[in-house]
């Protein structure tokens, strides 16, 4: 499958914080910023599984995830003109939008009415088991997973509970029964350690 080849290639080319992890993404985004719909199709194939996967990981509910992924991808099209390669990689730009949107949705939901919708969501979730398995298998091979394992337990949990589950740091502190300042520090030094590990992996 073409997508898989591309994403795996991107993995090996990645260096953090080096040049664009996927040079393709930056080039495509440039074409997209000039209104190139074909380039957007290619960019979609390159990033959509990660955009959708990330949102799904945070939100869980497949229908909601699809909706947010759609918003995010349209936003990428709409504001491709605002991407500044000098400020970071194309993929980081895209996944930052995706993550922010997913988290915004979580926060809105946490304070909103519909608790029942979330119970329902857990039921709808089931048919995706096969997908989940595939993702899990993929994860095993991935460098980022390896590097997460290199973190201390507290760093790893702080990063995962925040990034993949959309918790705020006070919520993470509650969940881990750890003082706030400690959590803030673990997030920061956890990311720094992750950065070093990912950079080494890319050089290898």
């Amino acid at each position: 499958m073409g997508e898989r080849d591309i994403s795996r290639r991107a993995e090996h080319l990645t260096s953090v914080p080096g040049p664009d992890p996927a040079p393709d993404a930056a080039a495509l985004l440039l074409d997209v910023s000039r209104g190139d719909e074909k380039a957007f199709g290619k960019l979609y194939d390159l990033v959509a599984p990660r955009v959708y996967g990330l949102i799904r990981r945070v939100l869980r509910d497949p229908a909601q995830s699809e909706e947010v992924a759609q918003e995010v991808l349209l936003e990428v099209w709409r504001s491709a003109t605002r991407f500044d390669p000098g400020k970071g990689s194309a993929t980081a730009w895209i996944f930052t939008i995706a993550h922010r949107r997913a988290v915004d949705r979580v926060r809105a939901e946490q304070s909103a009415a519909d608790r029942t919708a979330r119970v329902g969501a857990a039921t709808i979730d089931m048919p995706f088991d096969s997908v989940t398995d595939e993702v899990a298998a993929r994860l095993e091979r991935q460098q980022v997973r390896h590097c997460l394992d290199e973190l201390t337990e507290l760093q790893r949990q702080a990063v995962i509970l925040a990034y993949y589950q959309g918790n705020t740091y006070p919520q993470v502190a509650d969940l881990l029964r750890t003082p706030l300042p400690t959590i803030k520090s673990r997030m920061r030094d956890g990311l720094a350690r992750l950065r070093d590990c990912l950079a080494v992996g890319a050089a290898a």
């Binding site: 959509a48 955009v51 959708y52 996967g53 895209i94 993550h99 909103a112 989940t132 595939e134």
Partner: protein, 245 residues
């Protein structure tokens, strides 16, 4: 305070902070070159975590998105100049009003927020307003924007700005007071005579900027006072009804 803000850098990169704190960090970043570099670096790392979340998107998503871009105008290359509060046109005033709602939500609370105090009501208000700020600005900048306003029976007003080009609209509710007795303001869009919820405010909340996709295909926007946390269909008389056609 600077030290406090600085300690939030990791949480900031993980989107694990609320909007007040984010605003405080953003402000700090403007003056701190080293912090900007560190944030950019940590953001790159955080984004790599998306690699670990690979999942097959539903097949119809591609089709929907590709169809969507065909109908979506791209932003002009340079960021639009920040609208001034004294702008002459109605739209400028409107953007300023939306910005003011957002700003008012944040004012004065930042110091407390970064000291780990939760100012719940204000935080919720800011979240609601800021989450949609960028998209709100985009809709409000649409060339075909139509703006309508109605007073609320209970005091205050509701403003509806909608754009067919963007196929979206923004509802701005600014009530004079937050409702009492466990009731909340709820927004409705009415299409073919059927109301559907466009979001309910929290208890104690009196201001919201809500972006609504597909708003131009609705005939009216209604506002009611519902028992918290909102209702599935309107149960109370209308506080305001804004006709869109």
């Amino acid at each position: 305070m600077s030290a406090d803000v600085h300690s939030l850098i990791g949480a900031y990169a993980l989107d694990a902070i609320d909007d007040l704190e984010r605003a405080a960090v953003d402000r700090h970043l403007r003056d701190c070159h080293d912090c900007r570099a560190e944030i950019a670096e940590l953001r790159e790392v955080a984004a790599r975590l998306a690699d670990g979340a690979w999942s097959v998107p539903p097949p119809q998503l591609r089709e929907t998105v590709m169809a969507g871009i065909a109908n979506t105008r791209q932003l002009p290359p340079e960021p639009a100049a920040r609208p001034s509060a004294t702008g002459p046109s109605r739209r400028m005033r409107l953007i300023a009003a939306a910005a003011a709602l957002v700003a008012a939500a944040g004012t004065g609370s930042v110091v407390y927020a970064v000291q780990d105090h939760r100012v719940d009501q204000q935080r919720q208000l800011t979240e609601a307003a800021q989450a949609s700020e960028a998209r709100t600005r985009a809709v409000l900048a649409a060339p075909d924007l139509v703006v309508r306003e109605q007073p609320l029976t209970s005091g205050g007003r509701v403003t509806v700005a909608s754009s067919r080009l963007r196929d979206a609209g923004v509802i701005m509710l600014a009530a004079s007071d937050a409702p009492a007795d466990g009731r909340v303001y709820q927004l409705w869009t009415i299409r073919g005579g059927t109301p559907s919820s466009a979001g309910a405010l929290h208890e104690g909340q009196s201001v919201i900027v809500q972006i609504v996709d597909g708003l131009p295909s609705s005939s009216e926007v209604g506002v009611t006072l519902e028992p918290a946390p909102g209702s599935a269909t309107p149960t109370a008389p209308l506080e305001a009804l804004v006709k869109l056609i």
